[in-house]
Amino acid sequence: MSGEDDRGRARSAVDRAADRMLDASVLERLAIAVASTTLALVIGLVLVAVTGYDPLLFLSNVIEGAFGDNNAVARTLRFTTMFVLTGVAVAIAFRAGVFNIGVQGQFVVGGLTTVMTILWLAPFLPQGAVGGVALIVLGTAAAAVAGGLYGALPGVLKAYGDANEIITTIMLNFIAVGVVGYLVEGPFRGEGNRAPNTERIPEYVEFPRIVFDSSGFSIVGLAIALAVVAVVTLVMARTRFGYDMITSGHQQDAATFAGVDARKTIVTTMTFSGAVAGIAGAVFAIMIQGYYSDPSGVATYGFDAIAVSLLAANNPLGVVPAGLLFGGLDSAGTHIGIYSDVPVQLIDGIIGLVVLFVAAPELFRMAAKRTGLGGESR
């Protein structure tokens, strides 16, 4: 009772705002996102000016860094590819009400699996394009299986042991990074490598660079990411499996009523999510790195992916524009880090500001949906 009393005037204002957000159309939401980005950048520029740097130069660096030339576009799309893939992995689980924070771990396990599969199988297959395609397919499939299994593990722990998946997936991230770090340091280290890296995968195992000739990006990688988005969207929208998963995420009791086995659904959801994270790892290994190294500290796409997915309201299609925004910002950040003397912390802070501004209205909208703000009749 007292909770209700205290909310008072603020509550009714929040109610009205929530009401408005719940009624917002897709176009309105996009407009809100654009306005939020602009507003955050303006505040960021003020910060830049206050700390004694030239805000206009900074702004032109942002634009140049995100899509100023071929190189910048390729870099933006490279990051976008990774954010889309890992973002979809997160979105699958969140949509089903399972909080897979372990995409990073599944991504790392998938990446190493790809590299090792390709290295082991290469001697048995013909060199050249045919062998290259075969190795890419086998390596990616192996990554999906490995990522899927690594995702299934916390799924089983949650379904049959009642272990909170947020905690177990975070712990499994550490385990993945530690074990993979040990493997590339010792058993899997390439012969004669000074750094703790695996051997390089053969030259012919790579995505063809059709446009944007740039190391670390191929349009094929982006195409794979978009294909995964399409498949996941279809599975969610058109199959019983997807329906059961989403229904469990919305209302577990209704799913159970409809004959959905809650435990099985948790495990399959985590497996599906982990498999997509594994594919992300494969694309990273083949397109960007070409070998595998100690995964601690580099390429933390699996964590940023959580923000990407939330920004997309956990909708696999929405992950594409959200991934593009993140890709552009990261690309701009990289550029500014190299070509200007603005400290990297400030750049990260401004990126954070943009994310916060863009995500806040969406998070508010989701919270309103869940808590029944904006009127009880909904």
């Binding site: 009772m1 019983r240 009791d253 209704a254």
Partner: protein, 523 residues
């Protein structure tokens, strides 16, 4: 019309309008509560009764209209403001903290303090005084945790809580929904007691008889509008029903001309545990035949939920067996049971029967995920599902007749009609219906009853759970009374009286055993 007293009315609402988006929940409603009277607020579900009272209680802001309390214009932003003006509300779902004692619950937020510490003795004395004045039994439970009390006592705790906070005007929101007939009578006595001591009461209900017997005046709401205020001595149930529904309602009794056929559902020695791991169903046996309705009567929480969930495959069985068409299905999954023809109208339509965020089209697939033509080899045919949703909406008169509308935008009665339609269209052999008309308006009740009769005549075996006695007597071929997990009696609905049923539900034995059969009736 009763003569106006000299004093200003306790509450006067003028032209209250409250909108939720495009939905007008209250449309220019006038309502006057005279000092020292009981005023019933009658209406179907979704007619705007609770919304109107929530405006008065400060839970919602009205879009238009004014509120006077004791002749003073007031504006309530929060329930706290309303309480300060002497208004108390007893919600349908009690606002009590279950693990805390009665004393703690009553003083919560209004603790008398001495040197910063809660003065328990002062609180005790105050509550004792209130209890004595109105002849409540609450004082003797002061140190008992609320969850250990019966619903009736919990309700009286709620009333004492409001009185303790100085309420002179009490709003009771469907207070009898959870009570047995005996407990309801007791509540009415309490209400009269309060009126006699000068309190003014608003009594929200959709039960005609209650309004007629307890209230001094009855205001009827329909579709958010006040359609009339009547004097109970000058009206009839028929007239009230017509005001409420907006058309003539027929309370005809169905003639039972059924000849039950072969046994379909057979339950033997069933024991089931609750979520709290208590043995909630104990040694229940029964058989339901083709073309027969077995009614299960009981006060809520006596094991009906667990029994129904065990039959429908939602809950594991501790021991005993369930057979369906001769096959033992005790350990089969929920999905298998749906596919084999056991349909279920769930107790809780909000959380189980419908996904609130889904459209009716998406909800039409709920439970049908493995059934052709809706799903073939795991791929959904949304076209077929949409057609199905359209046909349910049309045949079962779901309003608004738009399958693209979200489940949560429908009123309770329409949600229920949709669920009933979907479950019947499974073409089941057994129908398990749990409180199928709870919170549903009169028009929809009539409709749902007729559908259940049709199913019975079509040869289904029906298990039907309800705590409404008139309904259970009207529908059932046999009534099993459940008390503390057991079938304490199986009676003939033709000969048993409401009083006898009420006593059985409260755990008393009936001396006259002519009406009762043994619990293990297999006929």
């Amino acid at each position: 019309m009763a003569a106006r007293e000299d004093r200003p009315p306790a509450v006067e609402l003028r032209g209250i309008t409250k909108r939720f988006g495009d939905v007008v929940a209250n449309d220019g409603v006038d309502f006057t509560l005279e000092e020292g009277t009981i005023h019933a607020l009658l209406g179907e579900n979704g007619s705007g009764k609770t919304t109107l009272m929530s405006v008065l209680y400060g839970l919602y802001d009205q879009d238009e209209g004014e509120i006077d309390v004791h002749g003073e214009p007031r504006y309530f932003d929060t329930p706290r403001d309303a309480m300060d003006a002497g208004i108390g509300m007893i919600h349908q779902h009690f606002q009590l903290v279950e693990p805390m004692t009665v004393l703690q619950n009553i003083v919560l937020g209004h603790e008398p303090t001495e040197n910063g510490l809660v003065d328990e003795d002062a609180a005790r004395a105050d509550i004792q005084e209130i209890s004595d004045r109105y002849d409540f039994d609450v004082a003797q439970y002061l140190d008992v945790p609320v969850r250990e009390l019966d619903v009736g006592v919990q309700q009286r705790v709620e009333i004492v809580k409001s009185l303790y906070r100085g309420a002179e005007i009490l709003i009771l929101d469907e207070p009898t929904a959870v009570l047995t007939p005996q407990e309801s009578q007791r509540l009415f006595d309490v209400m009269e007691e309060l009126r006699a001591s000068g309190h003014s009461l608003i009594f929200i209900t959709h039960k005609l008889e209650e309004a007629l017997t307890t209230a001094d005046r009855i205001a009827v709401l329909r579709d958010g509008k006040a359609v009339g205020t009547v004097d109970p001595t000058e009206t009839t149930e028929q007239e009230l029903a017509r005001l409420m529904v907006g058309r003539e309602v027929l309370f005809e009794t169905e003639t039972r001309e059924t000849t039950p056929g072969a046994p379909i559902l057979d339950v033997q020695g069933l024991h089931v545990r609750s979520d709290r791991d208590l043995l909630q169903v104990r040694d229940v046996d029964f058989t339901v035949r083709e073309g027969e309705i077995l009614g299960i009567a009981g006060v809520q929480g006596n094991g009906q939920t667990e029994l129904v969930e065990a039959i429908t495959g939602l809950r594991d069985v501790e021991s005993g067996s369930i057979s369906f068409e001769g096959k033992n299905i005790t350990d089969t999954s929920r999905r298998d049971r749906i596919e084999s023809g056991i349909a279920y109208i769930p107790e809780d339509r909000q959380t189980e029967g419908l996904v609130q965020d889904y459209t009716l089209v998406r909800n039409a697939l709920l439970g049908n995920q493995t059934i052709a033509p809706f799903v073939n080899r795991g791929v959904i045919d949304w076209g077929a599902v949409r057609e199905h949703a359209e046909s349910i909406v049309e045949s079962y008169d779901v309003q608004p007749p738009d399958p693209a509308s979200n489940a949560q935008s429908l009123s309770g009665g329409n949600q229920q009609k949709f669920i009933v339609g979907r479950e019947i269209e499974h073409e089941p052999t057994v129908m398990v219906a749990s409180h199928p008309t709870r919170g549903v308006d009169i028009g929809a009740i009539e409709f749902i009853h007729d559908r259940l009769f049709e199913l019975r005549d079509a040869g289904l075996a029906i298990v039907f759970v309800s705590s409404k006695l008139d309904e259970i007597q009207r529908l059932s071929d046999r009534i099993a009374v459940m008390y503390e997990g057991e079938f304490v009696a199986t009676v003939d609905p033709e000969t048993v009286t409401e009083e006898e049923l009420g006593l059985l539900m409260a755990g008393s034995e009936i001396d006259d055993t002519d009406d009762t059969e043994d619990a293990e009736v297999n006929r």
